[in-house]
Subunit: 202 residues, 2 copies
DNA sequence: TTTATTTACTTAACACCGTTAACCAAAAAT
DNA sequence: ATTTTTGGTTAACGGTGTTAAGTAAATAAA
């Protein structure tokens, strides 16, 4: 059975992406991908070294997608404080709206990331760098040095990640309203780094 | 081959716990457990409904262990602010020192948690409740209602979890010193909820 | 004391999984 | 016309969680 599309590699990626979004990461198998693509399971190995390498392509797509969203918020005539809050909320929305993408981007076991190419890691870091740049623009006394801004940027991402992770895992107390949790999470993140405040009170 | 210990269930749990700590969650298999225990793989099903149920016992152990650590810090003549910081640091240490336990407690895919007993969930929540109680003791204006304290307690745990998760996954920028990251994380968490400050500046 | 039943386990098997080795037909190059 | 490369295939290995059926020993009932 020939793939409709002449490029088998492209078909494999398209089907894998769809299966990831529809059924989730842990329901994907080489044989199931192959069956949907219309080729043998081993043909996938002609274009991807192994299952992890295939996954890495999807992970990269995820980080690119996130970066598209975040970098679009980086408008010159926006205050750095506002940028940071926008980044936070957009990041959270991305994580909640794309839980399967988010899982492989941030929750995948380190074992599967050992061979993630350095260059892809570098590109993924651009997302954290957006936070870092905005934090430096703040001219806050705690963020004077780039090193401090880098630390805080990583802490911001960690805090956001923690919220998304617990929400997606259903581990936030069910008596806590989702929206209030998110608002409080963002408020806490912003306040944590100095004098940042929510742009609109709830 | 008889298990040394007359209670097979106990032996299975002991071996599973050791394999979890030594080799990690995803290297555990029913057959490998059985081989080490000295019984057949299917014998495990006499005492645990399936692999998830076995895992749930270990998860529960993890939450009990964490609660022992945290509740020991809940001394009456300690300021609530100090309690909260101690909780944060002890929580983080637990996560970093017991990454395999932490993984199944907080990172396990929801699919594997669907049948986690409600009663065990309730016991696991005692950890968040420690934060909640301390936050209420603060008498901060933002924490007046128990509802607000509950939200903030969940946000605190989310922030802590985010840090542990990224550290254990090796996803914190390698140029950021581990200790500084943790200090900044804790400082951010404490500052986020109001006027809390680190007990000792770094 | 003999028979029946329960207890505590085992072996065999099913339907999957990622991955490798060996093979093969058609296209391209020599 | 013959060799080589391209782009796939099938078969197989050693694993996985789980279920069904069988079995030997201990216990209970007759």
């Amino acid at each position: 059975m020939e793939p409709v599309n002449g490029s088998l590699r492209r078909s494999i990626l398209d089907i894998s992406r769809k299966m990831l979004v529809d059924e989730g990461f842990n329901r994907i198998s080489m044989r199931k991908i192959a069956q949907k693509v219309g080729c043998s399971a081993t043909s996938i190995y002609l274009y991807f070294k192994n299952k992890d390498a295939l996954l890495h392509s999807l992970i990269e797509e995820g980080f690119e997608k996130l970066y598209e969203i975040l970098s679009a918020l980086n408008h010159p005539d926006k205050s750095p404080a506002r940028k940071i809050e926008d980044y936070c909320r957009a990041f959270i929305n991305f994580g909640l709206n794309n839980p399967e993408y988010y899982e492989i981007m941030f929750q995948l076991h380190p074992k599967h990331m050992e061979r993630y190419p350095v260059e892809k890691f570098r590109r993924a870091r651009r997302n954290t760098n957006l936070f870092m740049n905005a934090l430096q623009e703040l001219n806050d006394e705690r963020m004077k040095s780039p090193e401090d801004a880098r630390i805080w940027a990583n802490v911001f991402v960690a805090n956001i990640h923690g919220g998304i992770s617990l929400l997606n895992a259903g581990r936030v107390d069910s008596r806590v309203e989702r929206e209030k949790f998110i608002d409080t999470l963002v408020a806490g993140i912003l306040a944590g780094s100095g004098e940042l405040k929510l742009s609109h009170q709830t």
